[in-house]
């Protein structure tokens, strides 16, 4: 009875846009979700998603942390403290947060170069991420990897070559199946990579061998500067797996992402083979820091997404609307996040660069030290595992 009232109350909120009157609200909520598009699937994820207050605050925290971290990276890049490649994720936070909410830490994940968000959700601290971007020894890869090459247990980067991570992801899924550990691999790629040949090679083998691989296309509508309409003969990326079932959901809604991912993960764990998910999302920044991002799309478009579909605002408004948390609580979280990001940036700018003695290390694993030729024949450097 109570829950029925809650559902009605929510529906009314949606229609009227007014805030709900408080009742016994700090526990669980049922939310109606928009239907998702299905390909070769009898049914999709449930239309209702449950959100507890704790979960809501956690997702908010995660997304806001990623947002602020990326904006800090933008700032540091403009100050020339970060150099080289920097592909920012702001706008797409619901994807990383939603996926992580649906899988286990023991599952595996691999993505392409827009990877800072996933590096965080997979367990690396903002401090270590920023310090890697600034190329310091405190970075997650000791300064040797940079933006596109960050790793963590069960997180395989961070991959610079477009599409190359997709066969790798299927290989990781193969290892899961081989070892019989009931784990899955989430393998991400973008709309730009979606037409790559190696993806289709991979889809074929994953389907043949029924690999427990969730292929996820983060469709942010632009592959570098090329819109999906100009790039793809078919923009239904969730259908491109042909014989692999697929689903398409709103990637700006963290609950949609979570439910879809849960559904997909269950599909794999049940031994049904791979599945493709398309997340419709958006990036506020250009492709990378060297792309202003406004030569191929309008500022109006970016602004519209920000105001109508921002993932963080959407979640916040929902929770406020249902009185699951207060404005003050969100403010507190924001302050805490800002502090952590600020401290991390401090560390990232003050930590020393890796020592030159480290230059040649980590060529081989579990091998005796070897000599490495330097820039001239008299320069004999040492490399240890």
């Amino acid at each position: 009875m109570k829950t029925m009232l809650a559902i009605i109350s929510n529906a009314l909120c949606r229609i009227t846009g007014k805030n709900a009157v408080s009742g016994s609200i700090r526990t669980q909520r049922f939310w109606t979700e928009p239907k998702c598009d299905l390909h070769s699937l009898e049914a999709g994820p449930p239309e209702k998603a449950e959100l507890t207050r704790e979960q809501g605050l956690q997702y908010y925290h995660t997304m806001q942390m990623v947002r602020r971290m990326e904006l800090k990276a933008d700032q540091l890049y403009k100050q020339k403290i970060i150099r080289g490649f920097c592909h920012l994720y702001d706008g797409q936070e619901a994807c990383a947060a939603g996926i992580e909410a649906a899988i286990n830490p023991s599952d595996h994940l691999i993505t392409a170069y827009r990877a800072h968000g996933y590096t965080y959700t997979r367990g690396v601290s903002v401090k270590e991420i920023l310090a890697e971007l600034t190329g310091r020894k405190g970075g997650v890869a000791k300064g040797k990897g940079g933006s596109m090459h960050m790793y963590a247990p069960h997180f395989y980067g961070g991959n610079g070559i477009v599409g190359a991570q997709v066969p790798l992801g299927a290989g990781i899924a193969l290892a899961c199946q081989y070892q019989g550990n009931n784990q899955i691999c989430v393998t991400l790629y973008g709309d730009g990579a979606a037409n790559q040949g190696q993806l289709f090679e991979t889809f074929n083998m994953a389907a043949l061998w029924k690999l427990p691989c969730v292929f996820i296309c983060e469709n942010n509508k632009y592959g570098m500067g090329t819109s999906v309409e100009r790039a793809s003969a078919s923009t239904d990326y969730y259908k491109r797996g042909d014989f692999i079932p697929g689903l398409r959901v709103d990637g700006m809604d963290v609950l949609c992402v979570r439910e879809a991912t849960k559904f997909a993960a269950d599909h794999c764990r049940a031994g049904k083979g791979p599945i493709i998910m398309e997340l419709q999302t958006y990036r506020y920044h250009g492709h990378s820091m060297s792309d202003p991002g406004v030569s191929y799309r309008t500022r109006e478009e970016i602004q519209e997404v920000r105001s109508k579909s921002d993932p963080i605002s959407m979640l916040k408004e929902r929770m406020l609307g249902a009185n699951m948390a207060s404005v003050e609580e969100f403010k507190e979280i924001d302050i805490e996040i800002r502090k952590e990001v600020e401290e991390s940036a401090q560390f990232a700018t003050s930590d020393p660069e890796p020592p030159l003695e480290e230059l040649c290390n980590h060529i081989f694993s579990n091998s005796p030290p070897l000599e490495v030729r330097g820039t001239n024949p008299w320069s004999k450097l040492k490399s240890v595992s």
Binding site: G145, A170, A175, Y178, W209
Partner: protein, 338 residues
């Protein structure tokens, strides 16, 4: 499903069983084993020894297919997640399509991750010229792969090399490119009892002096080692005593062995099947020049290589595109000034 997949990947080639190496027929005398059988036997033993080792590739086990970039990437991913794949290319020419996965996903990852992510994988397959397969299927990739840090590149010649190096490669926690030679598969070699034992390994990075000599050093790898030994036999009759070094490993190169030999013989000829420019011989020349053996040279180093052209099809043309024994003999004499 998992079990049947495992069987698929671990069954190996449907090759003829290796000769009765393990049973009562074998006595103290060394037995003859072809390179192919040596490889298959080593594979079987390593598959049995470690559950994580499995085979993947073109026409491997029951899997009929040729999806190069895809399966190479899958193999590398499996290696990252705790398995120990042996990724087989029908020939290394096909690896050129998948080379991004070999270099960017396998070779560089341990370094990029500052030691967090090892990639224990073996890439194997026939390399270099075969017979009548023409230009797109005859390229030697030794120099291409040996150029890259993060890879180990080995090139066995005989059955003992094949067996020992393959075992070492499989047990190595790093990406190893294992360059075989199609024309050598059917060639039998005597193998000692020791070399047939289950834990017989040959260290990567160590060359072998196949024939001791005093007048000139011949350095080679793979099939050309046999040619060098044949040339040495002919030259011996004319009083020229050749030392023949079998590199066994291209990267890391055993410069110490080469230098030691050159300091003894004062003359060096490198012999390879691949193209001359920026090749294995070129690297050996550079290394000898930079090191202590340079002052011991009585003549510049001579490189004997494949002809600098795409491989032709017609037999007479093909035969004249790779070093023949007479080319080695000629080059030795020129280097010695006789």
């Amino acid at each position: 499903m998992a079990t049947s997949l495992k069987c698929l990947l671990r069954s190996g080639k449907e090759a003829a069983a290796a000769p009765a190496v393990g049973d009562a027929n074998r006595d103290l005398a060394a037995i003859q084993v072809t390179v192919r059988d040596a490889l298959n036997q080593a594979l079987d033993e390593e598959l049995e020894r470690d559950e994580r080792v499995f085979l993947l590739g073109e026409e491997v086990a029951q899997y009929d297919g040729a999806y190069k970039m895809g399966f190479t990437g899958i193999a590398v991913g499996a290696a990252m997640a705790g398995l120990r794949p042996i990724c087989e290319f029908m020939t290394f020419n096909f690896s050129m399509q998948a080379i991004d996965q070999v270099i960017n996903s396998a070779a560089k990852t341990y370094y990029m991750s500052a030691g967090q992510q090892p990639v224990p994988i073996v890439f194997r397959g026939p390399n270099g010229a075969s017979a009548g397969v023409a230009a797109q299927h005859s390229q030697c990739f030794a120099a291409w792969y040996a150029h890259c840090p993060g890879l180990k590149v080995v090139s066995p010649w005989n059955a003992e090399d094949a067996r020992g190096l393959l075992k070492t490669a499989i047990r190595d926690d790093n990406p190893v490119v294992f360059l075989e030679n199609e024309l050598m598969y059917g060639v039998p070699f005597e193998m000692s009892e020791e070399s047939l034992s289950k834990d017989f390994t040959i260290p990567i990075g160590k060359a072998k002096i196949e024939r001791q000599g005093a007048h000139i050093t011949l350095v080679s790898h793979s099939r050309m080692v046999g040619h060098c030994l044949d040339a040495a036999a002919v030259l011996a009759k004319e009083g020229i005593d050749c030392e023949v070094i079998n590199l066994r490993t291209i990267r890391p190169l055993d410069v110490e062995c080469i230098e030691g030999s050159v300091m003894k013989t004062n003359h060096l000829v490198t012999v390879e099947g691949g193209w001359p420019q920026f090749g294995v011989g070129a690297e050996i020349c550079a290394r000898v020049m930079e090191g202590s053996a340079f002052n011991y040279l009585d003549a510049p180093v001579t490189r004997v290589t494949g002809v600098d052209i795409p491989m032709p099809y017609a037999k007479i043309l093909e035969d004249n595109s790779v070093p023949q024994i007479k080319d080695i003999i000629f080059s030795v004499k020129k280097t010695l000034g006789v």
